[in-house]
């Protein structure tokens, strides 16, 4: 009988470098965050330091303003990007135009549903989004109840790098406000999920009903207390 230890103990890593140790060249890496909101800042920087190359980055935006995942583009460690929106991410526009990076742009709802599907063991599903558009090119369509839908397949990854507000040693995690976005789904879809927690709390400190992401979907946890958390578009109104 084999008695290999499972992955669900001793998840807490002392350093970002330790947490990222299993990363490898050519890996498919999902990174949570909506633009710069909810980025695993230390893990993102740590990947550049790690030295892994030829990464397939799967993330909504791939950074902006030279920050976040734009660092990966500048470091030349990305061979392909699957995202939904470039916006003013000049590094991504430049990497695409130079041919340095292969770019795949897909609708955001399809993007996250494909990721959830991978995590949930659903190999493919039908969606109305993209029917009759360039997104449908080369894809199978099918009618259900008189409406046409596209067949979309699951999108998985080798690693997911996520940022959470609080995590416990099992990897149970909570997110703050709109920093949650894609992270819980990416955690489900990756073979190895590495969580960067603003605060590591004791087992039991998060009430069972208050866990946003159960630790079954998290494999490595590193506490990182300081974050830049840059504003992408800081808008305010005058106090009355």
């Amino acid at each position: 009988m084999e008695h290999t230890s499972g992955r669900h103990r001793d998840k807490v890593r002392a350093s970002v470098a330790d947490a990222l140790a299993p990363l490898f060249d050519g890996a498919r890496v999902m990174v949570g965050g909506f633009g710069l909101c909810g980025n695993a800042e230390a893990l993102i920087a740590g990947v550049v330091a790690h030295g892994a190359r030829d990464l397939h980055l799967i993330s909504n935006n791939a950074g902006n303003l030279g920050k976040g995942l734009a660092q990966w583009l500048r470091a030349g460690i990305v061979k392909k990007v699957t995202c939904t929106y470039l916006g003013n991410n000049d590094d991504l526009h430049a990497a695409r135009e130079s041919g340095a990076v292969e770019l795949e742009v897909i609708p955001q709802g399809t993007f996250v549903e494909r990721i959830r599907a991978a995590g949930a063991g659903i190999p493919a599903f039908y969606t109305p989004t993209g029917v009759g558009t360039v997104v449908a090119e080369g894809k199978e369509t099918r009618a259900f109840g008189g409406r046409t839908y596209l067949l979309e397949e699951a999108l998985s990854a080798d690693f997911a790098l996520i940022r959470c507000h609080r995590a416990d040693p099992f990897g149970n995690a909570r997110f703050w406000r709109t920093a949650r976005n894609f992270s819980p789904l990416m955690a489900m879809a990756a073979k190895t999920t590495i969580a960067e927690a603003d605060e590591l709390v004791a087992l039991g400190a998060i009430d069972p009903d208050d866990v946003h992401l159960p630790g079954i979907f998290v494999h490595r946890v590193v506490e990182v207390r300081e974050h830049e958390d840059p504003f992408e578009y800081r808008r305010v109104r005058a106090r009355p």
């Binding site: 909101c37 955001q108 989004t129 997104v135 703050w176 949650r180």
Partner: protein, 210 residues
């Protein structure tokens, strides 16, 4: 004459039924929220994972982890909720969002919408546009009537890559309010000082007046 942007937004706000769930696209549509009465009971959805989006924060209250889909700092109202992106797009794709107010590059008389890319121009990406256009129960387009070059944005058929087919119900421009009617646009309302002849001249598809 015609409407300015604020007047367009005010007119669009009148399209919002009390007690509905509304998603406002980036740009001009975001102005609409300012023209709703406080007691409208309208809930704003932002596809990055927020329902019950409030106005921009007071200076000093801004939170980099509380943003809208345009990545602008926002607030959350009492009764608001945050959730992951799969849940957010389930709301959209599942038909739970009553109304999406979107910008447009072109709208065709059959309701086809093009609002994500003009070939040859900078490709900003798709984001949530296709999901919103095909998923929300009702699509209201808020746009200038013609391009900066004077070309009609309301057309017989879209030249630009589509966002979704046959999704648009109504269009509000600086010249008036029009419905898509399959083989024409139908005039619903003229902005002050705008004639039917002017509207017809600036519309790249047949215009039916009631």
């Amino acid at each position: 004459m015609s409407w300015d942007k604020q007047q367009m937004a005010a007119r669009a706000a009148r399209e919002i039924a009390p007690g509905s769930i509304v998603n406002l696209g980036i740009g001009l549509p975001t102005l609409v929220a300012d023209y709703l009465p406080d007691d409208a009971g309208v809930w704003f959805h932002s596809e990055n994972g927020l329902l019950g989006m409030g106005p921009f924060p007071y200076e000093g209250d801004e939170d980099p982890q509380l943003i809208n889909a345009g990545k602008e700092t926002v607030t959350v109202v009492a009764g608001g909720s945050t959730f992951d992106s799969a849940t957010s797009f389930a709301m959209i794709r599942g038909g739970h969002v009553d109304l999406a107010i979107l910008g447009a590059m072109q709208v065709a008389m059959n309701g086809d919408l093009a609002n994500w890319w003009i070939p040859g121009g900078k490709m900003m990406g798709i984001g949530g546009a296709m999901d919103l256009a095909s998923g929300a129960k009702r699509i209201l387009v808020l746009t200038q009537h013609v391009t900066k070059d004077g070309e009609p944005k309301l057309v017989r058929a879209c030249d630009y890559p589509l966002t979704a087919k046959g999704c648009v119900h109504r269009v509000i421009t600086e010249l008036g309010v029009l419905d898509v009617a399959g083989d024409a646009f139908t005039l619903v309302e003229l902005a002050p000082g705008v004639s039917e002849a002017e509207l017809a001249a600036k519309t790249g598809a047949p215009l039916r007046t009631r």
